[in-house]
Symmetry: C2
């Protein structure tokens, strides 16, 4: 067991031992929103299905126009006029032309389209006054999507436009990974369910609801196990059950110095191996990760902000990797701090903040009090400022770097421009 | 009926006549993710519930230390030592002190906490060598959240941290607006369902699946009505049914010049009033909006990209307003174009693109072909570049402005930093 690892070491240890779960499901397309493809999807046909014209004009043979010049125009006979929405029925033979509209299939025999304004039109003929290049003004079949082309690859999460595109290809069901099952165990004698009446010395269990909802946002399936008291046997029993039903196990509470033995002993009792304890990070220092039979147990702090921050930075990448997603690590963004943070940071610290734009600049605004027990500042938080160890207080106007953990669009505001 | 309105005029017309639907539901907290609060939620108690100490120290009376000086220290008797996690049971009487830990309630009688290192500790006494200010080192009850304070206001969409915060306040159910019901009618003789075998001249109906999924992403409930042929009676019947069951009606197809009469006559036939036809926008020009009994009908182009773009810029704000959300208009962002767009834009144009970050700069990248019938470039699109009418071709490096229509985080990539 390692002690005091960095966040990056922790991520590397965890991601290094996980791979996507192998359970697949075939879903009806409308039910696949937010799910992750378990196989590459290939186009069953070309789009467009045939060579087509990008403009209104005449389909002709380039060969026929080889000798054309302004003083020696070539005259071609118009053998068919195809209205909009219809398709040609004849073949362009030497000396002939077919009038077609934008989007129409190129008639057989033709290898170039000349636009109306580039010819001289008469009753049943056209005059071409310059040689035309074979292939000009023809959109080849498969130009947008080629038959057999991978249009969506394994690991892609299905969004609305992708569902629309697959529908346009006549794909009505898709192979996806089954949802990752995440067991959540909240430990603590002091926990009350929000539906219970408050009692002195007790606190409401927020971690259950917060982490369940976060799992759902990520497309995972939370499996909730009743909260358990700070007793080794109770925690071990719950862990044992969790490992049987879930792909990933999260515990909260009982991970700090004083309480640590309970969870540690429970982890040992179920035969799991603790890989590391303590991350050099505030909040979230008392985090432990263990493994059993390829499954990972994250033992997070019981403080809601610490639990959420370590969940987002460490458990979410694991969950995404198990889900089969390709991009699993939180991206970073930099910006200018718009409010000060007075405390020094002897240890590396994550501050709850939101990203905003003003006159093209990236602004980063703390969302409120940063104590471990304060949930309010998490509500609008979509980034976590990464404050390196040894940083003095942060001043307004300072450049900072942050992990993106939420939807950046949420903190932008639209305006009616008229 | 107005003709050729601007996008902003169209948004103003539509938003001006809508207000949130009034149907409420009370949901169990875990079921409320993504829903919109229909009432303000007030804190039922103070957080913290009592005055508490932000540090390990001694709770004393400021009055007792008034005359304290380094050459005249005040000696106070330590009458109780409260271990971590426990609460004081005694009252601080004149001349006494109680030893408390971070987070402990301030004992009765005390009005200041002095930290361990600022006193001289002996067996049962402490020496204070300077006057202490009443109220120092005390976090007052309600400092984080005051009883009765609005912690989440009407119109807020519930995310995971907000659900966690409400749980921490002992709130186990919440009032939300019912989901907005959006009827989707796809018109067109040429439409096939993706489950059907392809036939010449037919195209697969992608608009149904694309718009249904988009509605779900926004927390709305799509109500799908079978696709209908380009016949006035069939469209009118479908519209009539849609107006009866839905809060908002979307039609696709039959809105362009040639086909327009079908939808227009159908709208007239159900007694709806057409407010405008045609938006000065490409793609999406052939868009009409009608109203009946306060309900809005959006008649969108049948081309998938045009349908999606006008849905995002015009129908989504309407849907969000009906949903009760506060921010309904798409925000804008500016950035540097990384690939060229060769065509001129005699009309205002929206280009499918994605936002990226590189070395702190906002980059905007076209996601592919921009034709109305190309769906591929919608898949990764999270912004729409707003190209003003009369713009020549766009060059690499040019500054452009765009509407944000997707999750900006989706186009950022994380990296393991170690």
């Amino acid at each position: 067991m390692r002690l005091n690892v960095s966040l990056e070491e922790a991520q590397e240890i965890v991601l290094g031992m996980l791979r996507p779960i192998e359970r697949e499901a075939i879903l009806h397309l409308p039910d696949s929103l937010g799910r992750v493809l378990s196989r590459d999807i290939k186009a069953p046909f070309n789009v467009p299905a045939f060579d087509k014209s990008p403009l209104d004009g005449y389909a002709v043979r380039a060969e026929d126009t080889k000798m054309a010049a302004s003083d020696n125009p070539v005259i071609l006979h118009v053998i068919e006029e195809v209205p909009a929405g219809s398709v040609p029925t004849k073949r362009v033979e030497p000396g002939s032309a077919i009038r077609i509209m934008t989007g129409a299939p190129i008639p057989e025999g033709a290898d170039v389209v000349v636009r109306f304004e580039d010819v001289e039109e008469a009753a049943d003929t056209i005059k071409v006054s310059q040689p035309l290049a074979s292939g000009a003004n023809i959109i080849p079949a498969g130009d947008d999507v080629a038959e057999g082309e991978v249009v969506a690859s394994t690991g892609t999460r299905l969004n609305a436009p992708l569902i629309g595109m697959l529908a346009s290809l006549g794909i009505s069901s898709v192979p996806v990974y089954q949802r990752v099952r995440v067991a959540i165990i909240n430990t603590g004698n002091e926990l009350l369910d929000p539906s219970e009446k408050w009692l002195p010395g007790k606190i409401y269990n927020s971690n259950r609801y917060l982490l369940e909802a976060r799992c759902k946002e990520l497309g995972a399936e939370p499996v909730y196990l009743d909260s358990v008291p700070d007793e080794e046997t109770a925690v071990a029993e719950s862990l044992q059950g969790a490992l049987e039903v879930a792909d990933l196990v999260i515990t909260t509470g009982g991970a700090s110095v004083g309480q640590y033995d309970v969870v540690k002993n429970a982890i040992n009792a179920v035969g799991a191996e603790i890989l590391f304890w303590k991350i050099a990070l505030k909040p979230g220092m008392p985090t432990a990760v263990a493994r059993k039979d390829g499954k990972v147990i994250f033992s997070l702090s019981g403080n809601p902000a610490a639990a959420m921050i370590t969940f987002d930075l460490l458990a979410v990448p694991a969950l995404k990797k198990l889900s089969g997603m390709k991009e699993v690590l939180p991206p970073t963004i930099t910006g200018i701090l718009v409010n000060a943070f007075q405390k020094r940071s002897p240890q590396r610290r994550m501050l709850r903040a939101k990203w905003k734009k003003q006159n093209g600049s990236d602004l980063i605004e703390l969302t409120g009090k940063q104590s471990n027990d304060v949930l309010k500042s998490l509500v609008e938080c979509n980034i976590l400022i990464d404050v390196p160890a040894g940083t003095p207080s942060l001043a307004v106007g300072q450049h900072v770097s942050a992990y993106v953990v939420g939807n950046l669009t949420d903190s932008l505001v639209g305006e009616l421009k008229c």
